[in-house]
């Protein structure tokens, strides 16, 4: 593969011009009394510092450790996740899909960037990139291989395209060698990518 695609989806226009355009817009909206700058700060702080994949890791760890919770999560993910205190915007309608030795699940939004904010925070840049959005549905194994996940042909790959308001959380397979671990210990093995299906949970040795 060539390198022509490196970063042109990341920052195209000169940043100073963009910064000026955004400043102008915020000034305008504040002066018109349409936005409260303190509300903007709070929105940013929420998703930069408070909500993130550690939330989802707690959900997964609990599902691994507690068979009753796992059943509830698979039956009604919205309620099961809310019972741990994670709910709200972009997580109003949750579905949990479980990886097994027979089936690997991968989540994408080919049309935009839908992502389960309350459990994973805001999506990484790659998740929103044309490369991922275009290829996850047509060549998921090739995409997974680029993430270091090589699946045998015998494993069924299910790709969930988030075209509606349902948001998907992948429950990765519990790593071997973690028998008797606490939920806190287990949560430390759950990576963000594993909850998108683009990775596996860390093994105890890799910690």
């Amino acid at each position: 593969m060539d390198d022509d695609h490196s970063d042109h989806h990341h920052s195209a226009a000169p940043t100073t011009e963009l910064e000026e355009r955004v400043r102008r817009l915020e000034t305008l909206l504040v002066e018109k009394g349409l936005v409260d700058p303190a509300a903007i700060d709070r929105l940013i702080d929420t998703y930069e510092n408070k909500v993130g994949p550690r939330n989802g890791a707690k959900v997964v760890a609990k599902a691994w450790a507690d068979p009753d919770y796992r059943s509830r999560l698979l039956a009604d993910a919205t309620a099961a996740i809310a019972s741990l205190g994670f709910s709200g915007r972009q997580g109003e309608h949750m579905v949990a899909v479980e990886n097994t030795p027979e089936t690997h699940n991968l989540v994408v939004c080919t049309l935009c960037s839908c992502y389960p904010w309350p459990v994973l925070g805001l999506p990484p840049v790659w998740y929103k990139s044309p490369a991922y959005r275009s290829r996850a549905v047509s060549e998921p194994r090739a995409v997974l291989a680029e993430f270091g996940v090589d699946l045998p042909d015998s494993v069924q790959v299910d790709v969930w395209d988030s075209t509606a308001e349902i948001r998907y959380l992948v429950i990765p397979m519990r790593p071997a060698g973690t028998e008797g671990w606490s939920e806190d210990q287990l949560a430390g093995l759950v990576t963000r990518d594993s909850m998108i299906g683009a990775g596996l949970a860390n093994s105890p040795e890799a910690r």
């Binding site: 593969m1 060539d2 695609h5 989806h9 920052s11 195209a12 963009l18 910064e19 955004v22 400043r23 102008r24 817009l25 305008l28 002066e31 018109k32 349409l34 409260d36 303190a38 509300a39 903007i40 700060d41 709070r42 929105l43 940013i44 929420t46 998703y47 930069e48 993130g52 709910s87 915007r89 997580g91 109003e92 309608h93 080919t110 049309l111 935009c112 805001l122 990484p124 840049v125 790659w126 929103k128 044309p130 490369a131 275009s134 290829r135 549905v137 047509s138 680029e146 993430f147 042909d153 015998s154 790959v157 299910d158 790709v159 969930w160 395209d161 075209t163 509606a164 308001e165 349902i166």
Partner: protein, 221 residues
């Protein structure tokens, strides 16, 4: 609409590149665009489907040339103009003029936590039973509406099987155009890789796509 945003199955974008860092935002301007977009979304001047439709109407070449938050910025400016809240002169100058439409409410800092925690459920009470059941064979309709739709091109005309009945949800094709919520049943439909990509499909793969009822027709195959 058959827009540039509908990327599923396209070639030419190269490998997926993992992020160089784990930063949520890259630069202060991205933070502000994110915050402004959510804050203006909370005013009730438009809905989420209108926001998506504003972004996907961006000039196709500009869309691919732009970074993610540039697309959000252009979408927000478009929504502000189209809703009559600000005009082009104001956007260019950054200085407010008299007049302009007032949105229903303003998001105050103290309301942020509550608004985010509540979210906005799109599920609506059922008035009629779902037509399809899990296991039913269906076909995604071959349709090419010029308006907003959430049926991606790569499944149109393709056979699939109902995997889950998700509930009855606000219909984006109507909601994005101010035509009310018109809720419909929504299903997760399993499309086999072979049915989508023919001989070029990878082995043992499926795409599961959430489809509103009117996107589907019964199939016997």
């Amino acid at each position: 609409m058959n827009g540039i945003h509908d990327l599923g199955g396209m070639h030419g974008f190269g490998p997926v590149r993992k992020d160089a860092d784990e930063e949520t935002f890259h630069g202060e301007w991205e933070r502000r665009v994110f915050g402004l977009t959510l804050a203006m979304g909370a005013t009730g001047a438009w809905n989420l489907d209108m926001s998506r439709h504003a972004r996907e109407r961006m000039d196709p070449a500009d869309y691919l040339r732009s970074s993610y938050y540039e697309i959000w910025l252009a979408g927000l400016e478009r929504l502000l103009r189209e809703s009559g809240i600000v005009d082009e002169t104001e956007l260019q100058s950054g200085r407010p003029l008299a007049g302009g439409v007032r949105p229903p409410r303003i998001l105050k800092a103290d309301d942020v936590a509550g608004v985010l925690a509540r979210g906005a459920s799109c599920e609506r009470a059922s008035e009629s039973p779902a037509i399809f059941a899990v296991g039913d064979r269906v076909r995604a309709r071959n349709m090419h509406p010029a308006h907003h739709t959430r049926l991606p091109r790569y499944v149109r005309g393709r056979p699939g099987v109902i995997e889950r009945v998700q509930g009855r949800f606000v219909f984006p094709d109507a909601h994005a155009h101010g035509k009310g919520e018109s809720p419909q049943w929504c299903y997760s439909v399993r499309f086999a890789g072979r049915d989508l990509w023919g001989e070029d499909a990878e082995p043992q793969s499926s795409a599961l796509v959430d489809c509103w009822e009117s996107y589907l027709e019964a199939a016997d195959r």
